[in-house]
Amino acid sequence: MRLAGGGLIDRGLPLRFRFDGRDIDAYQGDTVASALIAAGVRMVGRSFKYHRPRGIVTAGSEEPNALVTVGEGAAREPNVRATVQEVFNGLEVRSQNAWPSLRWDAMSVNDALAPMLAAGFYYKTFMWPRAFWEGLYEPVIRRAAGLGALSGEADPGRSETAFAFCDLLVIGGGPAGLMAALTAAEAGADVILADEDDRMGGRLLAVREEVDGKPGAEWAKGAVTRLAAMPNVRLMTRTTVTGAYDQGTFGALERVQRHRAQGLRDCFWRIAAKQAVLCAGALERGIAFPDNDRPGIMMAGAVQAYANRWAALPGQRVVLFGNNDSLYDVASDLVDAGADPAVYDSRAEPERAAEGQPFAVHAGAQVVGTTGRRGLERVRIATVRGLREVRADCLCVSGGWNPAVHLTCHMNGRPVWDEAIQSFIPQEDAIPGMRVAGAAGGVFSTAGCLASGFEAAKGALDALAKRVVPVAVPRARDGHYRISPLWVVEGPGRAWLDQQNDVTVKDVRLAAQENFTSVEHMKRYTTQGMAPDQGKGSNVLALAVLADATGRGIPETGTTTFRPPYVPVPIAAMGAGGRGHGFAPERFTTSHRASVARGAPMIEAGLWYRPSYFPVAGETTWRESCDREVRMVREAVGICDVSTLGKIDVQGPDAAAFLDFLYCNLMSEVGAGRVRYGLMLREDGFVMDDGTCARLGEGHYLVTTTTAAAGQVMRYMEFAAQVLRPDLNVRFASVTDQWAQFAVAGPRSREVLESLTGPVDLPFMACAPVEMCGVAGRLFRISFSGEHSYEIAVPSRYGDALFRLLVAQSEGLGGGAYGMEALNVLRIEKGFLTHAELHGRTTAFDLGLGRMVSDKKECIGKVMAARPGLNGPEREHLVGLRPLAEDGRLLAGAHLFAEGAEAIRENSAGYVTSAGYSPTFGHDLALGFLADGRARHGEVIEMVDHLRDVRTVCEVTGPVFFDPEGGRMRG
């Protein structure tokens, strides 16, 4: 029922939304939960396992029951807490886990079967036959038990991630948090104040207490206004700090525009704070009495919040049951709201006598049961005068308050049992640089919260070496909070602990009986606290039951470990930006547009995109294009963008000595204007990367790396220069993006080049400056195709123009552009290496390049490369493979077996690393590694690919199939 007046809702702004197809009226400021309560809706969902009718229990992010699905179509989101979702016009809300409807749910039969479905039921029942698990049991169980369902479509909702920095992060905007933020802000500290509510004030919004002579909510509003006007303060509402991490890093989830029909969903923040104050408040817990889960049974503090903040009354005839003082304020607020409350205090002598109260108080009373079909109708109470049953539509429960210690446990802090408040309080200094203030630290009076917020800020300011500016701590209500422990009320019927996972007192006792006596074991056996709410309202209660069942005290039993996140965080928020093209950066070469314009399919090479092939009219498969491009390079000329190879410019008086140390072969003896192929080893002696090393001048080299290893090589070179050889005077920089480089390969490559540059006379493995069309570039006479070829480099801004020009000139000579497929076939024909062969487990010896390891100098990896076992017939050597039958297929990844040997793992003699159809030879060719392969040229072996079911008899050859003497390349 909506109260006629009062509340912090804006009655001038009426809203309307839909719940299960029914229109619900609300006001600006309502949550789905408060609007449903105001509309008299009590049942909002069915429980996880037993499909029991369930209603709203709390008024915050800890809500266990009121999980709903919000939105429609692909964007619909399951398991949204109705207590957190703000209402907007047109919002669509649906209940979950009920079919065909919330009122008539077929699966509620589970509730009748409850005696069979206790903890461990699945483990004990679905043991056999084993094959039934995946096919039958698991799908059926999944369908029966569960929460909301995803749409199954790509979610169009958008989220973001962001970083923030501050001197002081204040977590929670209640009285303690506001006071801490004010104190630190006045002292000039950069403050972030984060609160998960849409409105700061915390419990001040829910209670009717005065602060500084005015209503608490008004004081909070004034404090927020003051903070908002300060340039050194950032207020973050709708922001839950979800985790505390090393060196003052905090994770936080901001629900940015979830309160609107459209807009950004979430922002996941990483906040780096020099100091922090945790003012997260306390969460009220229940009492486990029989049938304590009916709709209408709520936390007392939540009912108070609904009445005062949202002017929404959950019931008229209200029973309050609890073991502590907080019941009495709730009862008196309910009287003022027009309800008819009666307090049943479990304590024999409540602090506040019944006299003078405008409501009935019964001491020494316990609720022993409830009835009601789809919601609470009657409450059974044991009093000193005997059993009685009263009619009630709302039952407020308070079993005490648990400080929200969660964040203090994220770095292994263990909370400490506090006898006075019968709950856990944070361990001191559990998070370096974080202090705890207010109810989160076990301080339950408003005056105490304000004072402790001020003190915590003072401590933080000291640590920040900032002078404290005196700030007056406002007057507020002080007083003691008294509680007498009461956890379980015995009686017939089930008493719920974890309502979200349907765990009862009986389940925990069964776990103890079956020797799951450690709290961590009990948790996993019963699933207590393992639902999305992580047992916020039920964990302490459950371990009290376990402590009782095992005869230990609660402090000895201990808590389970609280881990981040404090509230569920959508993966879409943490990984925001990382879908589709946002998943990884994209690097494009200067010829990208020209390649795409020619219809080339682009394939990923690391972060780069390179043309796969360039189809021409009439070609229908990639193979046709590839074969044509290979023939084109062998017979005329081809152009290929090779800019993606890493290029590192190395300079300095010791550049030669440095490269000698880095590469296994001698680079110091390369003359100026010459190029050498080089091999880089890891310190363990295995090959890391290969590339060319061009000496541009006396102390000036340009080295290239493979596309994939460019970053790794750069990192390794920095390590070598800074750590291993700081004595060498050398500097280097990556110039990969600065230069566009193109291979011009084939017998007519020189003609193409000379059409742009004039006469060229460059010997094989030489380099020289070159000028074309007035642009200064570099020319290298190197080859990755086995043909007479060049690589020509120009500053990147000329790359597009040069590529188009080179392709046009080539086409006039029967050539054209070629892509990665042809590049790969050309290099396989020549036995040239890529990372398919340099895969991290091959040595220079394996590759047949053992003689490249110079004995004239020291280099990285040299000592370990000479280890026994790395240089003999016991190794697998690089070989070539040729099918005996013309149409025999060779496939990368296939294994090699001696002819006649059974094709099983134990008999594998090697494997294929690269393979493809060679139009030059008219059959497949492959490179691979074969045990003692260099001694086995001419042998016939069998290639077996179990995955593609291919067997091919082939001959072992040397790895260079085409022009083994290299005459075409050198000539």
């Binding site: 090393d246 060196q247 920095e718 390590f719 800074q722 700081p726 370990m864």
Partner: protein, 80 residues
């Protein structure tokens, strides 16, 4: 986790590349010393010295002293 680069100041750990234990490279051809350098690691619960690379920053190799249990960082210095 945050590291204070001596050149750039305090930065998020995502800017850094972690290499491993900061060991002295052996001078001689002593196989045992090389075996230890390449393969053997202490993996202590407590204080360690690691190589880190400020890859998304200044490109400096750093030695970070930290605690594997408490995650406390005792110091960051240039490797050079």
């Amino acid at each position: 986790m945050r590291l204070t680069c001596p050149l750039c100041g305090e930065r998020d750990r995502r800017e850094f590349y972690y290499q491993g234990a900061a060991l002295e490279r052996p001078e001689a051809d002593d196989p045992a010393a090389w075996d230890s350098y390449v393969h053997l690691r202490e993996n202590p619960a407590g204080r360690v010295r690691d190589w880190w690379f400020h890859e998304a920053g200044c490109g400096a190799w750093l030695i970070v002293e930290r605690d594997t249990v408490t995650h406390e960082i005792y110091g960051v210095e240039l490797a050079e």
